[in-house]
Symmetry: C2
Subunit: 216 residues, 2 copies
């Protein structure tokens, strides 16, 4: 059932997951679904944790010497799963009782942070910040293509170029930032953008660990 739900979500987006569509896909009745879940919220929570099962499996292949590297790898696996599933961010780690895999993932991130030797509070904050960043940026980047980009194929470049042109037409005195980044924006890659921000945060985390190791 969760496979069917995730399938509908992946193929046609969040609005495609309806009880009637899911029942038709499974060849059953609408009411039957309610035997397994008590609401659509719970269905989405379970679907989210279903995806997290695969994320967990893939992220457990990495075990390096550097905790920061492990964190980067673990975060990127989650990013890959959320990038084209904007709904996942909203239902990730909402209910710990019905979402054991999300909790395991949190634990896994936390164990890497633990190896940095910070205090409990810093450890808690760092692990939560990393996950919050991944979820947030993925939901931001992977938002639906606004209009007709579903029909046209190669439209993404044109869409970005069009937005960049609008920025370039603004007053450079008043909008220096948008002018500076217009070229970058037009040719940017979402994954690069994500990785850069992640590295910023991990650099800050490494710095914090070093400072503490030196006893500051």
């Amino acid at each position: 059932m969760l496979d069917g739900a995730v399938g509908l979500l992946d193929e046609d987006g969040e609005s495609a997951l309806t009880f009637r569509a899911l029942a038709a896909r499974l060849g059953g009745g609408v009411g039957s679904i309610y035997w397994y879940v008590s609401s659509k919220d719970e269905l989405l929570e379970r679907a989210a944790d279903h995806v997290m099962d695969q994320v967990l499996f893939e992220s457990e292949r990495f075990h390096g010497d550097d905790p920061i590297d492990d964190l980067r790898q673990t975060a990127m696996v989650l990013y890959g799963a959320v990038e084209h599933r904007p709904w996942l961010g909203s239902y990730f780690m909402r209910n710990s009782s019905s979402q054991p895999n999300s909790l395991r993932y949190y634990e896994r991130v936390g164990q890497s942070v633990l190896r940095l030797g910070l205090g409990p509070r810093e450890t808690f904050h760092a692990a939560s910040a990393i996950i919050g960043y991944v979820i947030g940026i993925a939901a931001d980047l992977g938002q639906q293509p606004t209009e007709e980009m579903l029909r046209g194929e190669v439209k993404r470049d044109e869409y970005l170029e069009q937005a960049a042109d609008a920025w370039r037409a603004l007053d450079p005195e008043e909008w220096p930032f948008l002018h500076t980044i217009a070229d970058e924006f037009a040719t940017h890659d979402d994954t690069d953008q994500f990785t850069s921000g992640l590295d910023l945060m991990l650099d800050g985390l490494r710095l914090q660990a070093e400072r503490r190791a030196r006893g500051e």
Copy 2:
């Protein structure tokens, strides 16, 4: 009209904003709203930008010597607005034509980053990462109180303590991280958590700027 929409959202959450409820609040008819907006999506986009107007105003009061300090202040103002408005994150900066204030806010963050003297790509990535973090963590932290916490008042502490107890009951060998942070989690403050993660990212950004200034 946007005041009424934001009012409904703030008072009773995202599900309270319906065309019928909004029409009743404004003393008008349901169909009239469609004269000003073409869909509920656009209504929420405009409502989001309406909130951003206030965010922009408050964040423009800060102008310090240190760009990083400015970034921290600017980010915290946005956090304050999104913290209790989970819907804002989903509709922030989706359509630049109907959301001028969001674009101005992006420009403002970007101008602070510009002062760090990075290249166009790093500037673009840094500004986007900061905003992505704020939106993501705020949506994560400010998610609705799951159950009955709306009736009871002081229930938040009990809820957190209950979750922490569940973590403490797990096997410490298998869940070292959750055991380490259980106490922190039970007494944590959302804003502290947000600030810590933001400082991690800003520390990393400062480090990147210094490295570039030294010509590495």
